[in-house]
Structures are given as C-alpha cells and as structure tokens.
C-alpha cells in the first residue's frame, strides 16, 4: 500500500466531510452520521478509493444545506439523494457536473499566497518562499473551455495542477487550458523560491541580566506594498524557565495565557509610527541569563497583492458563445513566518 495514497485519501475524506457538514468534529459527525455513512460508502469500497470528486458526490448525495431544506419543505420531496445517477461518471470530464445552467455566467479567479519565511536573530532572511494557489469559482452554463495566462509565468518554480488542466499548452506556452469543474476549486498550486524581502519586519531584542530579562519587540513595514497590512499578530511561547512576565505594547493588546503562550494582536500597522512591545521577564531563581530563546510567529494579511509578483494576463472562454463576467482578486497571508531571537 503506498503510504501517500492512504494519507491523501484520508485528507480527501476529511475535506469532503468538511465541505458537507461545514466542520469536522465529533459532534458534526454524530449529528449527521447518515450522510457520513453515505459518503464513505461512495468514496471507498473494499479498500479501493472510488469517487472522491466533491462535484460528483454532491450530485449523488445532496449536502444538508439550507437550499435543500427549503426545497424539501416546498416540494415535499425530502430525499437528500438525487433521483438519477450523475451522468458525468461516464463522461470524459469526470470532474464536471453534466449540464449546469446559470442565468449569470461568471468566473472568479483568486490568487491566494502564503509567505513562509524564517528570519534569524540578526534580522537576516534565512529562508523565504511563497506557496500560492489559483482558486477558481466558475458558474458557466454548458461545457466551457477556458484559457488563463500569466504575465510573468517564468517566476514560478514548481507547479501542480488540478486534473482538468491540459499539460501540453502549459509545457509549450505556459498557458492554462482547462474545462473547469462547476463551482469552487483549486486550479493550480505554485511555489516561488528565493524571495528577497518580506513586507514587514519584526525585531525582537532580549537582554538578560541578574535573573531579569528585558524584552523589546518592534514591528513595522519594510517595503510598503501599496496596500494596508492588517490582521498582524505576533505569537510566541515563553520558555519554561520564566516565572512571570510583564509586557506592554504601544499599539494593540498583549495576552499571556496560562500555558505561557503570549499573543500580541496588533491589527493594522499604523502609518505614522511602528508599534512596539516591551517589558520584563522574571527568570527562575538561580538562573542568571536566559538560555532558551523564543521563536516569534508572525501572522499578517495583505489584500489585493500577490507578493510573489505573479500577475494574471487574461482569461478567455472558448466553445461557449456566452458573455460572462470575470473577476480577479489577490491575497497574501503569512504562512510559517518565524522570527528567531
């Protein structure tokens, strides 16, 4: 048994159940065990994974959403299983619902990027990488054939595609050509390595002397990305040898939990001055200096910018003669953004 097959499958089951029930926990499974049984029944038989495409599963087993509830009240037909088998199980685009119809045809393309970075105590960027996703939400009647191209595909280091993407056009011209599944899906994952800078800086300073450690953390914008950086959050674990901590900040709130996790929620970084947090940590008796240094995990979000610099050039629709609405968005979040001290 290939180990990844098992793990990937379990992840997929978790995703699907999550999508159906809007959350995966003991209670949601207990309350909806019939649906969970039905799903598992279709997803695996005798140890062989079968249908795992959410689109097709939703045709076989309707999710317990409000629409179907309303529908069942109105029509009196409350079966959450569709009457017919999905046609696409036999079609050559297994990910697509047979023949959806929409009054408004629209496609939304989102670039969602996560920045993973490690910064050492001297402020040097040890590692910085972006893992991005192209998320597409498509509602188009019929069987559309889309092409999406980027202005600067050369910056991508490695890409992974949804099965709907044809490989040859990408290989020869870096064009994504695909028949999209209906609704929300992940078209592509990509990775961009060797970024030179981060949008914000976090500078922690620790000086210890005579059983007391002074901590000072500064946060600020480094290269103004043109958009506001918000949801900034700095979190770190106080080393076990610290008896008590007294920390205050010039902006935002500082919270220390009983498990010694310290969270400094800054929110939006003000334009005029850089926020800072400072205070003292009291060490265990008998300890002169701090030996274990905390790692600061930073969280932030920037709307409207893909920090990798990836830009969408154009999106075209072939084969279907409709006019349709196109929407593009970009978002960058902090992934594993760590600052060592």
């Amino acid at each position: 048994m290939p180990p990844l097959m098992a793990i990937e499958f379990l992840c997929r089951v978790a995703d699907v159940i999550n999508g159906y029930l809007g959350g995966l926990n003991e209670d949601s499974i207990k309350d909806n065990f019939v649906i969970v049984y039905e799903l598992l029944d279709e997803m695996i038989d005798n140890g062989f994974p079968l249908t795992t495409e959410p689109n097709i599963l939703q045709e076989m087993i309707a999710p317990p959403n409000i629409v179907s509830k309303v529908l069942s009240v109105v029509t009196g037909n409350s079966s959450n299983v569709s009457d017919t088998l999905p046609g696409s199980t036999a079609s050559c685009v297994p990910w697509r619902t047979a023949d959806p119809k929409y009054a408004n045809n629209e496609v939304y393309v989102d670039l969602v990027e996560q920045m993973d970075a490690t910064i050492n105590r001297d402020g040097v960027l040890v590692k910085c990488e972006i893992n991005g996703e192209v998320q597409v939400n498509s509602h188009i009647t019929g069987l559309p054939d889309l092409t999406l191209s980027f202005a600067n595909p050369s910056i991508l280091d490695d890409v992974r595609f949804h099965p709907c993407v044809r490989f040859r056009p990408w290989e020869s011209n870096q064009i994504l050509s695909f028949v999209p599944p209906d609704g929300q899906f992940k078209l592509m994952n990509y990775r961009v390595r060797k970024l030179k800078s981060t949008p914000i800086y976090v500078k922690p300073q620790l000086t210890s002397d005579g059983g007391i450690c002074r901590l000072n953390v500064m946060v600020g914008m480094r290269n103004d990305p043109g958009k506001t950086v918000d949801s900034v959050n700095v979190q770190f674990q106080l080393p076990p040898c610290i008896l008590s901590a007294d920390l205050t900040s010039t902006h935002g709130t500082v919270n220390i939990l009983s498990n010694k996790t310290c969270t400094w929620s800054i929110g939006r970084i003000p334009k005029d001055k850089a926020p800072s947090m400072s205070g003292t940590l009291v060490l265990e008796t008998g300890l002169e200096r701090l030996h274990v240094f905390p790692t600061f995990q930073v969280d932030f979000r920037i709307m409207g910018v893909a920090l990798s610099g990836l830009q969408i050039d154009k999106l075209d629709l072939k084969t279907v003669p409709y006019r349709f609405y196109k929407g593009f968005r970009a978002l960058t979040r902090a992934g594993e953004f760590e600052v060592r001290s």
Partner: protein, 844 residues
C-alpha cells in the same frame, strides 16, 4: 451543534437510548408504519431508522428489529434503503438465519429500475459475508457485471472480489475472473476497468500459489499489451486508479530504450498532479525504468526534485513525513541531488517533532563542502530550541556532519561552544560527539582537550556522556593535567555509579592513565581493580580480573593490549547494509520506506516480535485476579514464609562472605586469597621501563595492590542477594507497555524435569507453583504440548520489575524464556531464580 440533516428537522435528533423498553417501543412503531401507505410515512420511517442505527452504532443490540426493518424497507426512498442496508450488513454476520430473510429483498432490489438501488443492493448483498449464502450471490453478480449502467458494474466487480474472499471456489467455478478480464479489456468506464484490475491482481496473486494458470495470468498483467492498454487510457482514470496503474507499470520491463522514453514522455505531466500519491507513483515508475541507464537516471533525479519538494512544503505534516522519508531514501543513493535545496529541510517551529527529526536527518545527508556552513549554523539554532529531544538531535546532526569530513574546523568550534552552554543535555550530547570526533581526527585533540578539561565530571550525569568524558580522560591523560585525580575521585564513587558501561570505561581509562602517569595513578588503579573485582556485573568483574591478571603477567604486554598505538577511525560502521537499502528502494512508494525496513521485516511473523504480543495477550486468559481467588490458602502460607525469609535475608546482607543461595554471583573467595597469598611476586614490574617512567621506589606494586586487595575484600560488600517481593502487583496495561518498551535482556532455554512436565496438565498448576516463589502470572494460554505464560516479579523493597515470557513445550520438555527487566544488570540473577523455581515444579 452543526445543522441536523433535513429529515430530522421536524423532530429532535436521535436521543440516547435508555435500554430495552426503547427497543420494543421502536419495534412497535416500525410495525405500525410497515403497512402504511399514507403520505409522510417515509419521513417518520426515516426518523425511526435513524434511531435504530444510532442505537446500533453505540453498541445496543437491536437485532430483534430485523423483521420489522426489512418489512419497512419496501420503499422507493433511497435514504431509507441505505440505512436499511447498513443495518442488515451489520447484523447478517452474527445472525446468518436473519440474513437469509434479507436475501430475498436484496435480490429483488438488484432488479430495481433505478441503477443506484441496483448497485447499492448488490453491494450490500456481497457485504453480508455469510458463507452458506454464497449461492444466492452468483446470479445477481453475473447480471450486475452485464448491467448497462457503469455504477452497477463497478459495484459488481468489487462484489466478485468479496465473493472470492468468502468462497474462492464458488467464484472460480462461476468463471468470474475470466469475465472480469474481459471487462477490464473492453469496458468503456475506467472505474470499472480499474476495479477489475485491482480485483484480478488480488485474486490471481492468491490463486497463484495453487494454480499455474493464475500465476501465468498474473505475470501477463505486466506484459506489453496490458501495460500499453492501461497507459493509453491513463488520463481517463481517476487519480486513485492512476496510482494502481503506475504500480503495474513500475514492474514492467521495457524491451528497449525508446520504449522507456515513450513511457516517460507519456507520464511526465503526472508529476504535476495535485495528488501526492500520483506524483510519488510516477516517481517510482521513472526511477525503476531508468535503473539501467545511469545518465538518464541522474536526469530523472533532477526532474522529480521540484515536484517532490513542493509536496514537502504543502499539505499536512503526515504527507510531509511520508514524502520526506522517500526523499531520505533518494538522498542516500544520490547525496548531491538536494545539496542546493537544503533550505527546504530547515525545521519550522510549528512542525511536529517527527517531521523535524526527519528533516534533521535530511540536513545531515545533504551536507557537502558548499553548504556545510549554512547547515551547521541552522542546526546550532535548534540546539537552543525549547524542544529538548530536537535540540539533542540537532547536536547529533552537527556531529554527524563533522564526521563526514566537511569543514571540520568550524564545526569543532561550534561543538566546543555547545560544551560551554551550561545546559546539561547539550553538554552531554556534545561530549559524546567530541569523543567520536577525536577518534576520527586526533589532530584536534589540543583544542578539544582544553575545553573538555574544564568540565566537571559532577555535572555530567548521562551514562553515555560520562563514558565519553572518562574515555577522553584516559586517552588524553598526558595532556590533561588533573586526569589522574579526576579519575581517582570517580573511582572513589564507584558504588554510586549505576551504569555498567561507565564502570567499564572507568576501568579502561584508569589503566590507560596508569601507563602514562604511573606514580599519580597507582592508587586509583588499585582501587578501581579492587572495586571492579567485587562488582556484581559480570562484564565489569571479568574486565577487572582480566586487567589484573594481565598486569600480573607482564606490564608492557598489558600496555600493548590496553593502550596500543591507534589509527584514526576513517569510517564509522554504517548501520544499514547496502543490500537492505537496495531492497527498500525496490519497494519505493510503500510503507517499507517510511519504516526504513524492507517489508519482510514487518510482515513476516518471526520478525514481528512484540507487535504480535499485544494480540496474544488479548486472547490469553488474564490471571491477575483469578490467581488470588483460586489459592487463598497458599497466600497465607506464603506470607508466613515471607516473614521467615526476611529475617534470613537480613543476615545475608550483613554477612558479605556468604552469598545468598538465591544469587549465584561468581565467588571470589577462591581466587582472591590466592592472589593475596602470592603477592604479585611474578609481576614483572622491571619491564615498566617500557612506559618510559619508572615508578618511585617506595611504591612497590605488590604492596600497593596487596593492600588494596585486602581493603577490597573487607570493605566492598558483595552484592545483596536478589529477593523478590511476594506481593508484587502489576496491571495488564502496564505490563504490555513495559513489555513493549524494554529490550530483551536475557533469552534462555531450560529443560524441565519429567515430573514437572507430568504436573503441567493445566496452566493453573504452574501458576500456583510460581506464585509460591513470588513470581506472578499475568496471562497464560495454550494447549498441550505448547503452553505460553507471561510472568512478572518485583524486587523486594524496590520498584524494579522483571517481565518473563515463558513458552513450555511438554513433548520436548524444554522451556524458552525471555526476560525483560527494569534493572538489566540483575536479570541474570533473576533468571537463576526463575530457573530454580521452575525446576522445582512438580517435585513433591
């Protein structure tokens, strides 16, 4: 609470059942609904079914509702059907009579006009798994395989496999494998094809042991027509089926190189697949196809690098772990491939430690001249990590890199900095590494010794580190000013040193030191040899005796034995043979890689060891409580004996001369007086000129050693005899846990007396007997001639526990014993005790 499913929004979600009355209540309600055709019946039925199933899931027996459930399921509502199938499937196994009832209605559903109902009914029918009902399966399966809806065919194919597992002959007689083969090669639907493939693989593999034809068919699957047929349709297959096909292709042997390139071109885009399982399966195909072409094989490494690295950083920690273990295997074969991508293996704060550990191993493996500095810098960051096991691992990683010979200069500096960090675990790990480094690079001794000399041995507690420090003290005693005195103080605390390893090292170190600086070490050597001879650990005792006699024979010979000129170690032994590694590589993309063991090591019975134990313990009868209730009288008697015993024990402890009968420690009483009576007259001390420094005249060695010997015999108490706590208690859970954790410290075979064999009619007889020797049984089982017991015992007045697995074969009169002990050093003594107890079994 999450929103309840639509059907339950008119009634509260299934309540917790209160017991019997509710089941009969449900029965009544179901009966009322069974015949009803009124609108809305289905909804009320659903609620009832839900209640029944929720009762079933939490373990309440609702099988009495079987008849009513079946009656109610005569409906067109699929959800009701599904719930009913679930219910039927659950109870048919334990209730074959009831299963017969359901066959009828399932068979009828197999002919329903809705393909979904046909499929579901067929699946449930095949899942009943009742052997005497297989005859009813053949018909529906046959028509299911010919159904014009692919959903039904998919289900039917798996149904054939299920049938095969219930009754192989029925399946073969109905000629189903042949039908599947036909379907596999002709069906339009790829899911049907994929299911045929996996079913046939399983059937033919199992059949091939008995049928040549099946073996041939199985081989045929790897032949060109089949492989090409699957490859040509690869894009139509679902991602899981693609994995299956890739596994098949990896076993295919192409006839020439152009074929290899064709296959690789066809599959190249699979490396870009979003599903990691597909990527890894493709990687396997690429690697295995190109094994014969060295240069292409290298290009393949380059090609698969980026997709695999992407998999590491995206996805769950479990996915990362599985991928990293494969990367680790690859990097062992081609160390340079990731040398410029080392940053991917930097640990992130949030990662679980199993991923971090593997990343550290990767960092060690990818280190080379160009990246060592960065990697070591990064590793040093982890040494100050909050996560102590990871901090230790990273220090070890630094050491391993140093031993790989890159940039040793800088690394030695780092290691020495670790020694000054004043954290005990960092110091310990660093000491062990410095020792290994010095064995390989003696030229660094000056720098290292200067730092090591400043470490107080009192601050080092871990045995491995202490042993390393002592080794260095011995090896470099000429450079370390106070080495003899440090060693002397260590010898003085001999009794407080619990680790035999440390004591062994101490003996050798004192010897080495003696050859280099005799006058200063003489006293320590005498004390060490005396303490060593009196040591209750067999190895320590033997080594001390060996050194003593060696010195007695000829000091220069002793030196050439104990401290010969050494060559630097060039390569440390690899823990895994290359054969094993190749074997794991053959099993790429399987659990072998994750476990770092070839599959036979964890699938074959004899290799499984303790894994098996936990199953067995469940089957054996637990005797922990029953033992007490069976023999209460003996208990009292035993307690009386205990009182008597304890008084004699006290005498034993006070009198070092007489070893307790229970403990067969080697007796020195014979050899020691003979040594003292001939006070080393023949010890050729004049030849110590070889050491370059004659001892001061006043310190004649006979005097010295003679003195020490008398001291040794008089003051060092002989080890206390081993006595067991007669009232030891251990619950089965702890026993299992300990059994898993502890290594086997002794494994022996004894023969049993014929009388003992004769008395061993039931396991209980032996249990009582052993209990009277303070050895308790926790589980026993087996039938004549093979009996298996698990015993445990506890040292009197100590928490130390002994665990024993004892297999007795009455026909050969042999017993095999495996002993595990908290205190390894005394397991020999315990073994003797155990053996004597066992040998007394059956004696009047």
């Amino acid at each position: 609470m999450a929103p309840p499913p639509p059907q339950s929004n008119r009634s509260p979600s299934p309540s917790q059942p209160s017991g019997k009355s509710e089941v009969s209540d449900l029965k009544l309600q179901l009966r009322q609904l069974a015949g009803s055709r009124a609108p809305g019946t289905d909804d009320s039925k659903r609620d009832l079914f839900k209640k029944v199933i929720s009762n079933m899931t939490i373990g309440i027996d609702v099988s009495s509702l079987f008849g009513e459930m079946v009656m109610c399921s005569a409906t067109s509502d699929i959800v009701l059907k599904k719930m009913c199938y679930l219910y039927v499937g659950n109870y048919a196994k334990v209730n074959p009579d009831l299963a017969l009832l359901t066959i009828n209605f399932l068979q009828r559903d197999c002919k329903d006009q809705d393909p979904m109902i046909r499929g579901l009914a067929l699946r449930s029918l095949c899942s009943l798994r009742v052997a005497n009902l297989v005859e009813y399966l053949v018909g529906p399966l046959g028509s299911g395989l010919k159904d014009n809806n692919s959903y039904v065919r998919t289900v039917a194919v798996i149904g054939v496999l299920k049938l095969y597992h219930i009754s192989a002959t029925t399946c073969i007689d109905a000629d189903f494998p042949e039908t599947l083969k036909h379907l596999m090669l002709n069906d339009q639907d790829t899911q049907v094809v994929a299911n045929c493939l996996s079913a046939l693989q399983e059937i033919w593999t199992l059949e091939s042991t008995t049928s040549e034809e099946a073996a041939r068919e199985r081989e045929n699957l790897h032949s060109k027509p089949y492989v090409y047929y699957f490859l040509n349709r690869i894009k139509e297959f679902s991602e899981w089926a693609q994995c299956l096909v890739m596994e098949l292709v990896a076993k295919y042997i192409p006839s020439d190189n152009s074929e290899i390139f064709d296959i690789m071109n066809l599959l190249e885009d699979r490396l870009q697949h979003a599903n990691g399982a597909v990527v890894l399966a493709t990687t396997k195909v690429f690697l295995h196809l190109t094994l014969s072409m060295a240069d292409v094989h290298q290009q393949v490494y380059e090609r698969i690098k980026a997709p695999l690295l992407t998999q590491v950083s995206s996805g769950s920690p479990e996915q990362s772990y599985a991928i990293l273990s494969h990367l680790h295997l690859l990097v062992m074969r081609a160390p340079y491939i990731f040398s410029s991508d080392y940053k991917h293996f930097y640990c992130q704060y949030n990662e679980p430690s199993y991923v971090k550990k593997l990343k550290l191993e990767m960092l060690t493996a990818v280190a080379n001249e160009s990246n060592t500095y960065e990697i070591v810098t990064e590793l040093c960051e982890y040494a100050a990590n909050v996560d102590i096991p990871i901090a230790r691992e990273s220090i070890r990683a630094v050491g391993k890199i140093a031993l790989q010979q890159y940039d040793v200069n800088a690394i030695v500096d780092r290691l020495l900095q670790f020694l000054e960090m004043e954290k005990d675990y960092v110091t310990s790990e660093a000491l062990v590494l410095v020792k290994d480094l010095l064995r390989k690079y003696p030229q660094w001794s000056q720098d290292c010794i200067a730092v090591v000399g400043n470490i107080s041995s009192n601050n080092v507690q871990e045995p491995k580190a202490k042993a390393a420090l002592i080794w260095m003290l011995g090896e470099y005693s000429q450079d370390m000013h106070d080495a003899p005195y440090v060693l002397e103080s260590l010898v003085e605390n001999w009794d407080e040193e619990h680790s035999a390893e440390v004591r062994l090292h101490l003996l050798t170190a004192v010897m080495k030191c003696f050859f280099k600086r005799p006058p200063e070490t003489q006293k320590a050597l005498g004390a060490a040899l005396a303490a060593g001879l009196a040591d209750f650990h067999q190895d320590v005792h033997d080594r001390a005796l060996f050194y003593y006699r060696l010195l007695q024979y000829n000091v220069s010979v002793a030196e050439s034995v104990v401290n010969p000129p050494k060559q630097a170690v060039s390569v440390f032994a690899d823990t895994q043979s290359s054969e094993v590694k190749d074997r794991i590589f053959d099993e790429f993309n399987s659990l072998s890689v994750v476990y770092q063991k070839p599959s036979y090591m964890f699938t074959d019975k004899e290799h499984r060891g303790t894994l098996e134990f936990s199953d067995e313990l469940g089957n054996l009868s637990i005797n922990a409580e029953t033992g007490d209730s069976v023999v209460p009288a003996q208990r009292v008697e035993e307690n009386d004996k205990d009182l008597l015993l304890s008084t004699t024990e006290k005498d034993d402890v006070r009198d070092p001369g007489s070893n307790g009968s229970a403990y067969n420690a080697p007796s020195y009483n014979g050899s020691v007086p003979s040594a003292t009576s001939q006070p080393l007259a023949d010890l050729a001390f004049s030849s110590t000129g070889a050491t370059g420094q004659a001892p001061a005249p006043g310190l004649a060695i006979d005097d010295l050693l003679g003195l020490d010997f008398s001291v040794g015999t008089a003051t060092t108490p002989s080890p206390p005899p081993l006595t067991l706590n007669p009232k030891a208690v251990l619950d089965p859970g702890t026993f299992q846990q300990k059994w898993r954790q502890l290594p086997i410290s002794l494994s022996e075979e004894y023969s049993l007396s014929p009388l003992g064999i004769a008395s061993l009619v039931t396991p209980n007889a032996l249990l009582r007997h052993m209990q009277s020797h303070s050895i308790q049984c926790i589980a026993s089982g087996g039938q004549s001639p093979n009996f298996k017991f698990f015993f445990f015992a506890q040292k009197a007045e100590e928490a130390s526990i002994y665990l024993v697995e004892c297999i007795i074969n009455t026909s050969s009169a042999k017993s095999q014993i495996k002993i595990k002990a908290d205190d390894q050093s005394s397991s020999q003594a315990f073994s003797t005790l155990f053996q004597s107890a066992l040998s007394k079994f059956g004696l009047p």
